[in-house]
Symmetry: C2
Subunit: 454 residues, 2 copies
């Protein structure tokens, strides 16, 4: 039954490109107050498309830019209800001078369309809308769909938890399709099998009551910058393992199947070196770089600040030292237990001569899908049908807090299916979307939707 | 022969206070371009006093604010030639709102005169000028004197090394009297027996070629912030000793006499805690806090910077991490050998996955006086005569680069004799000078000068 819809999509490929360009021209930068009106324009753009599809759509005030919600529940009680999650806000564009073309004037060069938000994630959103349109105009939409488009993903989904909690019934579904993701490479179809969670901390040490002269006092008192450094140094052992007490207690070991899947991905050491620009790789012993970055927990310093950091020298013995430290978590680690581990470490290791505080700034649970679920199988088959090659499971190193929110509040898993590429310059100048992936994405969403109804 | 001069000084105590207030009204802040004219005013003030004393004085352009040089060499070939070093520039005054009175309108409250530069070091400079005036007006000046007043001490004596090197003959002397120092307490006369040297470094680590997303890359690559912290942690062992290879090779051990002198000072642990506001003290095992801060070398972090340091969280895996690190050195450690030690440490310990650079930003040798020299004995006797109690040797934890310069370029030691107090708020709001110390300082300089001629 997908064939007619696929044909329709192919005949309307130019329109699909025009539609994408149309929404990309709206500078919906959520973090900048001067774009507040643009947030409304982008939300209205979505509303209009939902209306054309015959969906009941509305903007809902959640405290920030509106949530755009749209539903079509006429596929019958036997058909599944799928909640499709996306966001219509984008990152800021600075530094603007590094862009080759205007970030809000979409420009196709070769196979790529360059614009802010092309890959993250207006391209995914419009691909799904075009897939549903193709179904509607041909065989009909075979499943029940609820769209949830937020406008605050790039600023931490500030109001989303409250919104979901207040609208549990409205958002009720069989599962969530999160399309804010990608595939490994343009010719390597893949399905995101897991995402890592996160626990983000700020640690502050205080020694003397104020900054001191390092000549007059150096040696007599404990230097909080030296101490902070020594503590951070002790957070890993010689094998690159995290030493916080109990840190690994809830880590599910990687199965042989999972390791085999990851080993089959094109992410070799050379790939990681080329992508990161690092001189060489290292980390937890006994795991490949891909395993370390996607399926093993980490503890990274995100920021360090103490004392004098300007040009030249100042002989200050700093009174304070601060570190931002975050852990990436894997199933079934719990951010609050990781916080406990860090506090336990500090109780054990922080020396006399300094006082300390550790705050947890944010937390998100990791998530892993059931590889044998009907949705996962349908997604894999859709990818293989469109690409003509076997699709694999990949694991994502990043965190997608909305997945955890929906799992905790609505009690359903998210399937992550999207078509961005690792080199799409997300959050950076010259963001792009690979147009062959855009059109294959539309086809994949058509096949997947049809398969869900079967 | 000192008695007449002492009487003269006591009769002219009010004038001495007025003279000090007069120079303190000149805002000679060397680091601020808007005070360039004030530097000339302060230099002219000194020139006028030198002229009144019968000295041949002149301003010499050294590239920055002028050096004020004045000489009186009529005491005869048998009398010693003493080079008196001081500086007429002062620190900035911000934050101004923390000052109780205008920093450039000297205000006597109780026994203290409050003004920027009162203790550091216009008070010491005018005390010496008043002592020489008292001698001139009574018994005559019994020694040959060369004054060297610079205007750049608070900005690192930028042009002084070049000036000294270019004027070796002009500045030739038997020893240097450096009056930019102080005593332990108002009732505890002391002579500075040693100052520490310094080697100041900036260390930079680079991992990935640019900042990365800590979710996508965390675990795969080496994090330079974690690595910098771990390296700094390894720079001390569990006994608080510095682990840089060869760091202690040239450290002269403390003699029993020296330890006994330091143990007799009023700088107890409680004193250090009260002065620093630290919750407790710690450092190199086997030494008291006073020994650690004045007679043992240290390695302190002065600054740390990496990644994101603003409010909240940003999941960046930083590409760079930087530390400012300085060692305080004791005789006869050499700053350039300390640099070699740090480089050797980095060669040994820096892991693959990061590249690193270490620059030495500045260096100064430590200095220690011969406790049995005639000058040291004369100074101790002068202190005891004026205070009426035994004077002791103290060691200074800070560095006085000009002492090293003069030792290296002119081949003479500096005797450090001055009358500031540890709580005079140097470089801070509400700088003050203890007036009893000012007047006792004048008397001490009279006795000391007379004793040098004997």
């Amino acid at each position: 039954m997908s064939e007619d819809a696929i044909s329709f999509a192919h005949q309307n490929a130019d329109k699909a490109l025009d539609e994408l360009k149309s929404i990309l021209r709206i500078p919906s930068v959520s973090t900048l107050p001067e774009h507040a009106a643009d947030m409304e324009v982008a939300a209205d753009w979505l509303l209009e498309r939902l209306d054309r599809l015959g969906f009941e759509g509305r903007k809902i005030n959640s405290g920030g830019p509106p949530v755009v919600y749209g539903e079509w529940l006429l596929a019958g009680a036997d058909a599944p209800v799928v909640l499709v999650y996306g966001h219509y806000d984008v990152q800021p564009v600075d530094p603007l001078d590094l862009w080759v073309s205007d970030p809000f004037d979409p420009d196709v060069r070769g196979d790529d369309l360059f614009a802010r938000g092309a890959s993250d994630m207006k391209g995914q959103v419009v691909a799904h809308l075009m897939a549903i349109e193709a179904l509607k105009e041909t065989t009909g939409i075979p499943i029940n769909i609820k769209y949830l488009f937020e406008g605050e993903e790039e600023i931490g989904s500030v109001h989303l938890p409250e919104f979901i909690r207040a609208n549990e019934e409205l958002l009720g579904c069989d599962f969530c399709l999160n399309i804010d993701t990608g595939v490994i490479g343009p010719e390597t179809p893949s399905l995101t099998a897991s995402i890592r969670g996160m626990a983000y901390f700020e640690m502050r040490l205080q020694g003397p009551s104020g900054d001191l002269h390092s000549g007059t006092y150096g040696g007599a008192v404990v230097n909080p910058a030296n101490t902070l450094a020594a503590l951070i140094g002790k957070m890993h052992d010689e094998q690159g393992r995290v030493t916080l007490p109990g840190f690994y207690d809830d880590v599910l070991p990687l199965s042989d199947d999972e390791r085999s899947d990851l080993a089959g991905l094109p992410q070799t050491d050379e790939w990681w070196i080329a992508k990161s620009g690092a001189p060489s790789l290292a980390g937890e012993h006994g795991y490949t770089a891909t395993e370390r970055a996607t399926a093993r927990p980490t503890l990274d310093v995100n920021g360090l600040l103490s004392g004098f950091t300007g040009e030249g020298g100042k002989t200050v013995l700093p009174s304070k030292a601060m570190a931002k430290i975050s852990a990436r978590l894997v199933p079934v680690q719990d951010p609050s237990k990781t916080y406990d581990s860090l506090l336990a470490f500090m109780e054990l290791e922080a020396p006399a001569g300094v006082t300390w505080e550790v705050d947890m700034l944010s937390g998100a649970i990791a998530s892993i899908i059931d590889r044998d679920s009907p949705q996962a199988k349908a997604a894999l088959e859709a990818l293989e049908t469109v690409w003509g090659v076997p699709a694999t499971f990949k694991r994502e190193g990043g965190s997608v807090p909305v997945v955890g929110m929906i799992e905790e509040m609505l009690g359903v898993k998210s399937l992550m299916l999207g078509f961005g590429l690792p080199d799409d310059n997300l959050h950076a100048p010259n963001e792009k979307f690979h147009m062959p992936n855009y059109h294959r994405g539309i086809d994949t969403f058509i096949h997947f939707t049809a398969a869900l109804a079967a």
